[in-house]
Symmetry: C2
Subunit: 75 residues, 2 copies
């Protein structure tokens, strides 16, 4: 359920996957911080195929990939 301006009013992910997906397939990564609408941080990756996958935010490879993306930026 997306409310005004696409702000979610409940958790978007019914379940999450911990299976590794090669980042080369990622079109984008959406992080939805926990809040009144949902107690979990949600990480939803959109693949280049258009498919969306809810990732387990506790999975180490998910954290590693996001940190690597951030740190690849030359200062």
């Amino acid at each position: 359920v997306l409310g005004r301006a696409g702000i979610s009013f409940r958790c978007q992910c019914l379940q999450t996957s911990s299976h590794f997906i090669r980042p080369v397939h990622f079109a984008d990564i959406q992080m939805i911080p926990a809040g009144p609408h949902c107690i979990n941080l949600e990480i939803i990756v959109k693949l280049k195929s258009g498919q969306k996958v809810c990732l387990n935010p506790r999975a180490n490879w998910v954290k590693m990939i996001i940190e690597r993306l951030l740190n690849k930026q030359k200062d």
Copy 2:
């Protein structure tokens, strides 16, 4: 320009902001990895107001907030 399945074909951000925004205002954070469509990693935050802001992926506070979100997840 969003192509099939909402996959971007060029950079989404014409400019980015390094000004601190309190994460309490974030509805979600979208990370678009660099690729053939755009040489930059792009980080677009959607605020609860519905407004979208392109953040500077090199800004330390941006990296800190994303890492804090990830590490807040109890293992």
